[in-house]
Amino acid sequence: MAVLTSLADGVEEVVRDGDTTAFEGFTHLIPFEAGNEAIRQGRRDLTLVRMTPDVIYDRMIGAGCARKLVFSWGGNPGVGSLHRFRDAVEHGWPAPLELEEHSHAGMANRYAAAASGLPFAVLRGYAGTDLVGRTDSIRTITCPFTGEVLAAVSALRLDSAVVHAQRADREGNVQYWGITGVQKEAVLAAERSLVTVEEVVDELEPVPGAVVLPHWVVDRVAVVPGGAHPSYAHGYSTRDNAAYSEWDAISRSREEFSRWLGGLR
């Protein structure tokens, strides 16, 4: 059952050192403030999971929270590289970063398998690519009806998942809309979940295209208005494209980044 809590308590209770954890979001609704809070709390040894690790994971990697990244596309959307991610991979700073790398189709299916309580998923994917053989989580499977050989990916079970949503009601039912991404699957794939929301309301008025997570699959809800900034919450804010560009400058050098990090703490 969802418990209403503060951001600090929510992050502390849901995201633990050593977790395999996903702060999910597909450009829209990225849980930035929860990520910043994890950095402030000095979370360590995380296996960070996300289809599209972006600026918040760049920060967490640079701050030394992560030991491993499980992902399919790591960039600053619309801007370019993630410099902290690259520095970790190319130069091991501040620590080496193990990579487990997939395609979007593979990652989405790995989440869906975990959400479905299955140990694996089947897809037409990866054939002919060098992604095969780089991770043990991609194998093949033979169709028992046709004999066709397809790709199999292992389920991506999470210890914890953190997402941002437009709103929740007082029972903790969570509602979000616009681009809805893979957040439902991430929450359902996780042992523990935290949802930061723009606001809590008495009644969740139905909204076209909205996804609702019922309260009994959400552990913690924290009210964090603007919690997705510089990403956005459809209907509440717009994407702060300038901030994404500014991150390019901040993250380019270890010194600038360290200054930024000092300011966060």
Partner: protein, 251 residues
Amino acid sequence: MSGHTSDEMMTVAAARALRDGAVCFVGIGLPSTAANLARRTHAPGLVLVYESGTIGAKPDVLPLSIGDGVLAETAVSVIGVPEVFNYWLQPGRIDVGFLGAAQVDRFANINTTAVGAYGAPSVRLPGAGGAPEIAASCGEVVVVVRQSRRVFVERVDFVTSFGHGSGPGERERLGLTGAGPQVVITDLGVLRPDPETCELVLTALHPGVDVATARERTGWELRVAEDVEESAPPSGEELAVLRELIARKGG
């Protein structure tokens, strides 16, 4: 090349590669610009699918990311990401996939993962994203990329997305359902795979570009078609629409 830049020519050429009514899987950046240009010129019935789950988006300004709100607001349907890949891309419901590249080789294999050794890369790139399955399952693939020796390499360092492997029959043997890259559009011209060998062959040059330049900017011994065409320069309408799109980009 007076009156337009080579990037403008490249974008216009990419837009022209899209036929009206086609269903197009669009990545952000140049593919999105080209697709939206096509929709506003010769292909008003073009259907844009973004991997963020927006099907039939009709953005009035160019989105800066595949997750911009304008895509959700103007889409016929917004779906979750697993459904994009499972119900729409995988079964071959998308006619054309648009891909960029950090490296392309002579058989149109694509690298967006890492330059150098995978375990110790000189440049770590963003990675695969949706590209491997776009390359596998779309009816055909259009690659759009600026041409240089750094990009046009003999053999990609990492096959992120499978083009034609090292020649004919490989896609079929791998069970890939789409036809793969059928055209590579650059700032210099257009390359297409030879129907026999699958090797990329220069088939068109943009106005003002010569074969020597194209060879110079290719990291393998470039084959040139016997009858290399010259691309028609951007029309006044194409340029006007493109420039208006770019000017209104972003927020």
